[in-house]
Symmetry: C2
Subunit: 205 residues, 2 copies
DNA sequence: GCCATATACTGAACAGTGTTCAGCATAGTG
DNA sequence: CACTATGCTGAACACTGTTCAGTATATGGC
């Protein structure tokens, strides 16, 4: 005994190696273009070995999506302990989300666009995904409590805001041929539009 | 001569048959799950025949995306000849877009989500896609001319609005596991938020 | 030390994919 | 009737995700 634990640790090690290789390849070449054999080649194991650690190719993608969600959650969570005004925290949250997507375009596409289209990967979205959404919801609730918003329904408002920033983030990443106006101007406009759109009427600033 | 034209018409006929079969299958089973052989089986030709009419599988998708854009453009264009107030026309345009997506979810995913991720299908978006965007831009310009909006930049505002409604449409279609609030409430909230967000301050109604 | 067992891994095989192309009928022309 | 051009075939190629009988290695008991 003791050796059993070492074996388990080594097994976990190879699992991580597979994830590392897959992450690198997925981000560089896209989920579709990366075959199990390519991953196996990179870690210098036989293709079959991968199936001793993951049920199928989609499960590898699932794990990587979880990682991405976790990173996003860390960034969004940092805003909670911020002493700024509720609406400013909300604005910061929206910006943080958009920039996270633009700084990790391939991860973003993988997690928020490709994953859903590909398999019915509900699990990731119903756990880690909801948690990420919770961060935004928290900021919205703060603004509601301060009496700054038009509605008391935090879910309705947070979902609206999320749909808006997700839309902008995904088109900026995927519609590369589209003649967008300058990117920062568009981001500013979107954040401004969304926040003004959900703000209670007759408030200054 | 004359027969040459008949031949050409018959050739065009088979091209349409391929498109019909592909459209049906793509919408029912998704682009990925439909193989060239499945399409060939449906029209009872050999797989190789399809390559006499289309360069590759992606070109078939391209043509179907074009159709979808054209249908959307027809719907959006109908609003132009509307005598309603500029802001109401704008609201109608946003709603029309969202409903078009929700009524043709598989077409929408195919055209606006999957197509871009899959191949670098710039052509469709830079021609027909831009034209569809032009409808929205037209409504925005109308509202600008009426002095109803916060900015004079029709492109900036139209792109913001489009990103917003595209975001909502695509998450409503793809995030089936997500606990959304009632759909119509969310659509109302999004349209309201976007329009209020781009409206000039201090205007009544 | 030696054998039995359990574990980790292999790589050939299967059914499928998009795509190509030599060859074959058939219809139209001189 | 011969010849050519057209439309179509289906076998073949190189790939895909996935499975599984077999092998090599390391562990535990005697």
């Amino acid at each position: 005994m003791g050796s059993k634990q070492r074996r388990a640790r080594e097994k976990e090690g190879l699992r991580e190696e597979i994830l590392d290789a897959a992450r690198t390849l997925f981000v560089k070449e896209g989920y579709e273009s990366v075959s199990i054999r390519k991953i196996a080649d990179k870690i210098e194991y036989a293709p079959g070995t991968i199936y001793l650690y993951f049920r199928d190719k989609a499960e590898i993608l699932d794990r990587i999506c979880e990682e991405t969600f976790a990173r996003l959650i860390r960034k969004m969570d940092a805003i909670k302990n911020d002493t700024a005004a509720p609406l400013d925290k909300l604005r910061r949250g929206l910006r943080t989300y958009i920039h996270f997507g633009l700084e990790n375009p391939n991860h973003y596409v993988l997690t928020f666009i490709q994953a859903k289209v590909h398999h019915e990967s509900k699990s990731v979205f119903e756990t880690t995904g909801l948690q990420a959404f919770g961060c935004l919801r928290h900021a919205v609730q703060g603004a509601i409590d301060a009496g700054e918003l038009v509605s008391n329904d935090a879910d309705e408002l947070a979902q609206t805001l999320w749909a808006g920033i997700h839309g902008l983030t995904s088109v900026l990443i995927t519609c590369t041929g589209f003649p967008f106006v300058e990117q920062n101007r568009l981001i500013d406009r979107m954040v401004h539009t969304l926040v003004e759109g959900v703000r209670a009427k007759g408030n200054k600033s």
